[in-house]
Amino acid sequence: MARLLRFIGAAIPMLLASCGLPRDPEKTSERVASTHELRVGVSDNPPWTITNGAEPTGIEPDLIRRFASSIGAHVLWTRASETQLVQALKEGQLDVVAAGLEKKTQWSTTAGASQPYGEDGQGKKHILLAAPGENRFILTLDTFLTEQMRASKRHQA
C-alpha cells in the first residue's frame, strides 16, 4: 500500500512535468535552453562567494557552474550588492543570485528562495535566490540542489 502510494505520489507529478507543467510566466527555462546563458548575480560573502578574482569562486559559484552545465548553459556573472541583485532578479534581468544567504533570509518573500543545498557549521541551511514566480526554472534548480544536498549527506555518512 505504502509503495503504491509512493508510486502514485511520484508518477503523477512526473507525468505532469513531462507535459511541461509548471510553466514559467516569463519563460526563463525556454530562454536559457535557447541562448545557453544563465545570468547569475553574485555578491561577496566568503566562503560561500568570493568575488575578488577574475571569476567568482567559492561554494556557491562552484555549485552554480555545475548546475549550468547540467542544463547545457554557461554562466554570465554580474557582481553587485545584495539589494541591487535582488532588484535585478525582480525585474527579470537575472536568473539566479548567490550571496551566501541562509534559508530565513529577508529576501525570501521578494524573490524565489530555492531549496537548501547545504548546511553551515551551526546547522543553518543555505539557499540561492531565483527569479520570482519562474516556477519551472525554480523546480529545475530545486531538483538539482536537493540532489546535491542528498549527495553531500551520503558523503558525510
Partner: protein, 325 residues
C-alpha cells in the same frame, strides 16, 4: 435535559453534535498543518489557511457554549447563560468579516503590484515534486471530508434547532467553493498564469466575508430578540402564530399579544392577555401557560400576563417593521 428541545432523539443528536465538533477541530488542525508545509509563496493557500484558522472558532464556541449555556439561572443572571454564546458569535463573526476584508486587500495588492507567486520544488519520497501539486492534494483533503461533516452537522442542527451549528454546517458545505478557487489558482500558476493565484485568493476572501456576514446576521438577530426564523433564516418560524391562535381559541381571552424570543436552541414566550370580564381564575391562567408550552417542543417557558389594556409598546409588537432587515 436543560437547553435542548423536548424531542426523543435530542440528547442523542447533542452527543453527536459534540463528537462532530471535536472531529472538526482535529480535522481542521490537520489541514492547517499540511497547508503550512505546502503553501510556499501562494497567496491563495495563505488565504485558505487563514480561513481554516477562523473556521476553528465555531466548533470551539459550540463545545464551550454548550457548557456555559447549560448553567442554571441565578440571582445575578436571572435569565440563565444562553446569551453568552450569542455574544461569542457576534465577536467571531466580526473577526471573520475583518480578516476577510484584510485578505481581500492583501490579494488585490498582489494583483496590482504584479507579484508573481513563487512555488518551487518539495523533496518527497526521494524525488522533488512541484509544491503546487501537493497543494492541490491538500486542498482536496480540506474540502471533500468537510462536505460530509457539514451535512452531518446540518442534520443535528435541525433536530436541536441550533442556528449557530446550522451556520457552521453551511460554511463546511460551502468549503468546496474556496478549495475549488484555490485549486483553480494552483492550476493557473502551473500553466504560467501568475495572476490566477492572487485572483483565487480574492475569491476565497470573498467567501470568508460572506460566511462572516451570515454568522453576524444569525448572532445579531439572536442578541436583538428578533422574531424567530427557521434555521436557514429564510422564513418566519410558525411558533408565534401558533401560540397566538392557541390563546385566541381560549373562551376567556378577549385580546392577546404573543412575543416569542429565541434563547439558544429554545424559545421563551411572553403573552399579554386582555381577559373577557373582570373575573379570571389563577388556575385557568397557569394551566393555559402550561398547555401553551405543548404547542412546540422548543418552547421552554410561556409567561402569561393578564392586563386590562395592552401596554402601548406591547401593542406595537403587532405592527410590521418599517424597514426589514
Amino acid at each position: 435535559m436543560r437547553g435542548i428541545p423536548r424531542k426523543p432523539n435530542a440528547e442523542q443528536e447533542l452527543a453527536k453534535a459534540r463528537r462532530l465538533a471535536i472531529i472538526s477541530i482535529v480535522y481542521i488542525l490537520s489541514t492547517i498543518c499540511m497547508l503550512f508545509f505546502v503553501m510556499a509563496g501562494s497567496q491563495a493557500l495563505k488565504t485558505e489557511m487563514t480561513g481554516e484558522f477562523l473556521s476553528l472558532i465555531p466548533p470551539m464556541l459550540f463545545l464551550l457554549g454548550d457548557k456555559i449555556s447549560r448553567r442554571e439561572p441565578n440571582e445575578k443572571y436571572p435569565f440563565g447563560y444562553e446569551r453568552a454564546v450569542s455574544a461569542g458569535y457576534v465577536g467571531a463573526a466580526i473577526a471573520l468579516l475583518a480578516v476577510g476584508v484584510y485578505l481581500m486587500f492583501d490579494g488585490a495588492m498582489k494583483l496590482v503590484k504584479l507579484e508573481h507567486p513563487t512555488i518551487g520544488g518539495f523533496p518527497l519520497f526521494g524525488h522533488v515534486i512541484w509544491t503546487g501539486w501537493l497543494g492541490i492534494a491538500v486542498l482536496l483533503w480540506s474540502s471533500i471530508p468537510a462536505c460530509f461533516l457539514g451535512r452531518a452537522k446540518r442534520q443535528a442542527a435541525e433536530v436541536l434547532h441550533d442556528k449557530t451549528l446550522a451556520a457552521d454546517a453551511e460554511i463546511n458545505v460551502a468549503d468546496w467553493q474556496s478549495a475549488a478557487a484555490a485549486i483553480f489558482g494552483m492550476v493557473g500558476v502551473a500553466f504560467g498564469l501568475w495572476w490566477a493565484d492572487a485572483a483565487a485568493a480574492v475569491l476565497i476572501s470573498l467567501q470568508i466575508i460572506r460566511s462572516g456576514w451570515s454568522e453576524l446576521k444569525t448572532a445579531l438577530g439572536d442578541v436583538m430578540d428578533r422574531r424567530p426564523l427557521t434555521l436557514d433564516l429564510k422564513e418566519e418560524d410558525p411558533v408565534p402564530a401558533q401560540l397566538t391562535e392557541f390563546f385566541e381559541r381560549q373562551p376567556w381571552v378577549k385580546d392577546v399579544v404573543v412575543r416569542v424570543r429565541e434563547r439558544g436552541r429554545e424559545f421563551t414566550a411572553e403573552v399579554h392577555v386582555v381577559p373577557k370580564g373582570d373575573q379570571i381564575s389563577v388556575e385557568k391562567m397557569s394551566r393555559a401557560g402550561q398547555l401553551a408550552c405543548e404547542v412546540d417542543p422548543r418552547l421552554a417557558d410561556v409567561t402569561v400576563a393578564p392586563v386590562t389594556k395592552l401596554p402601548d409598546d406591547v401593542a406595537r409588537a403587532r405592527q410590521p417593521a418599517e424597514q426589514d432587515s
